[in-house]
Symmetry: C2
Subunit: 390 residues, 2 copies
């Protein structure tokens, strides 16, 4: 099968972006990615847009973005799987190239969330949970993840301090990332003393709604521009899990993440120990700890200790969310998965500046939709890898 590379990346600043419409954000990310790839707009054969539609006044946003980017009359389509929409879009574009239908495809994740009130956003997000049996009882997303946190604390002795250590790390790196929403460090004390959200979470355990866009340009191997750095999509995993937490086998991890990771590792022919740098879906601090375990970076129940020992800082066993993660970079839901792929490509190209993970050759993204109804895992590498089905 054809190898597929990331040949260009572009990223806007995430945060409250009252200065730009959603299509303007998309344009900024796309223009940056074109410049990065050193190609013109005419080289793009199709686009895949990632956005959750209902946050924007304008619906069916793919067409608007396609036109604003100057990509008419080429095909475009939008993928939606809640907060994993960005990775579903990358997967969809990868499939189209692997299928031999397109050679060069732009993936643009773009979202404006701050036009709505926090209450409206919480309400819409809650409806991504199970509305028939669960969210009608008030299980907003913080409540779902607080449930996971409580269970993790109960079963494994995970502490609030360990969760706050995730926030401290992600703010530490976010402070170095010019695209991050929150560019200031915090302390364990500050996280612990902050306002509560859903017990055991304080506000520093939760990521923030944001506006922003990210773009990756994918190309078939024979269309990688000469003399430009390429990063390869070496392993692609995707899986689903039950909507209702009542039907989950356990609440201390996401079954979809375990399965998607296994698939991605198998396709790339690697194991978790081969990964030097990872972007994981830290919508809440417990989610990052669960991700360490679901991805095999440590054994089940040991995620709290891993962050406490700084094992996921640069210099540790695997550097995680060294762009600030959802926590400090912000979480414009449709853009997040694409942003993850951008960051790993940047790291594998050795262009991450002061937050560069030294000699990183293999990276991973882990993007969760809803409370784990969907999970998409990508293994990226500096050289093409060969595993099962690749």
């Amino acid at each position: 099968m054809r190898d597929v590379a990331v040949i260009g990346i572009g990223h806007t600043r995430f945060g409250r972006r009252a200065d730009a419409s959603v299509q303007e954000l998309a344009f900024d990310a796309f223009a940056a990615a074109l410049a990065d790839a050193g190609i013109g707009r005419d080289a793009i054969e199709a686009s895949v847009i990632a956005a959750v539609p209902e946050y924007h006044t304008q619906r069916s946003i793919a067409g608007v973005v396609q036109e604003y980017l100057g990509l008419l009359p080429r095909p475009t389509w939008l993928t939606e799987v809640a907060c994993a929409s960005g990775s579903a879009a990358v997967r969809s574009a990868w499939l189209s190239i692997r299928a031999g239908v397109h050679d060069v495809v732009a993936v643009i994740g773009c979202q404006k969330m701050t036009e709505l009130s926090t209450e409206e956003v919480l309400g819409l997000m809650g409806r991504v949970g199970d509305v028939q049996w669960e969210s009608c009882y008030g299980t907003t997303f913080p409540a779902y993840y607080a449930l996971f946190a409580r269970r993790h604390m109960h079963e494994f002795g995970t502490t609030r301090g360990q969760m706050h250590a995730v926030a401290v790390k992600n703010h530490y790196y976010g402070a170095m990332n010019p695209h991050a929403m929150f560019r200031k460090e915090i302390t364990l004390e500050k996280a612990a003393g902050a306002d509560g959200v859903a017990d055991p979470f304080t506000v520093y355990d939760c990521c923030a709604n944001a506006d922003g866009a990210a773009c990756v340009i994918l190309a078939a191997a024979d269309r990688v521009p000469a003399g430009r750095p390429a990063v390869w999509l070496a392993g692609m995993g995707a899986a689903s899990a039950s909507m209702s937490v009542l039907r989950r086998p356990h609440l201390t991890g996401l079954p979809s993440a375990e399965r998607a990771a296994a698939e991605a590792y198998a396709m790339a022919g690697i194991g978790p120990g081969d990964v030097q740098v990872a972007e994981v879906h830290d919508c809440f601090t417990i989610a990052e700890i669960m991700a360490y375990e679901d991805l095999g970076f440590c054994a089940r129940g040991c995620g709290g200790a891993l962050i406490e020992e700084r094992g996921t800082y640069i210099g540790g066993a695997v550097a995680v969310n060294v762009d600030g993660g959802l926590k400090a970079k912000g979480h414009p839901i449709g853009a997040t998965g694409v942003s993850m792929t951008c960051e790993i490509a940047r790291q594998l190209r050795g262009e991450a500046g002061e937050r560069q993970v030294p000699d990183s050759r293999i990276g991973l993204t882990h993007n969760v939709g809803g409370i784990g109804q969907y999970c998409f895992v990508q293994v990226l590498s500096r050289e093409p890898l060969r595993g099962r089905g690749n």
Copy 2:
């Protein structure tokens, strides 16, 4: 590249379906498609869901449907390009099989629209038009298409009677389709005398919002069950056009449809004259007339005459919408494109009963999103075809 076949089709009754939730509708279509293919649920490796999210209380519907169909933990994703979402999903599944990533994929289009009031639906649909420059002035979808109709009348002398003839044909065939929303014939006089909607349209020029689901199961050539009929996806075209009608080259056709058709014909290695049966996007009667022209079934401006001469009835040059079309079958937006593929597969298998197009070997679907921001065209055939890029 791998040939991809439709191996199973399933369809619910379209209409006001207060008896079933969206996931129940999806289940009914899926179960019928599995039975039709003669395979079990375990053979399905992934699903692609087509639905426009904002009509349902439950958001991010792919996960709910995946669970309700018993397809966990396999991958699922949703595609959204307004009323063309169903064809985008078929395309996405086709890509995944052609790419060698999956072998058997279920595509489920499902939508409930009647939980909202007509005003709410019109409002949401209007926001698929250009909200910044156009729909703020009241261009709902009937208004957009009325504009196209007026221009067509002005340039080519197309008449209200010719438009009503489309409705008469589609109701004639819809009366024979057990899945259709409206199963009664109408007359030209009845259409002409009905209440007005947006001049020149009466209510019989407009399709109806509906609930419903349709499913197609796609498989790689080597996974077609022995002794079962397969229909091949021989040509797949997709294109986009400007959101705003102000930026269209003309208003008497859809540039995206012309381009998508050319691409699909080229891939299949056929021309419009080879098509015996077609499903076209008759959201309004003028849209079917424009489709005849965009698809090359007749020259620009001659679509009115084509229907007046009954050229698109069974026995005419090409049989169009002999399942009732959007007009009489109903238009549950996410399901429509999948329903089109179902109908063409049924026709090519010779299983359409009293509305069978005799000896049909090549069929076509034409599915429009918005007011032509998106168009997807598929050529289906009884034997694999070989054109450019196939």
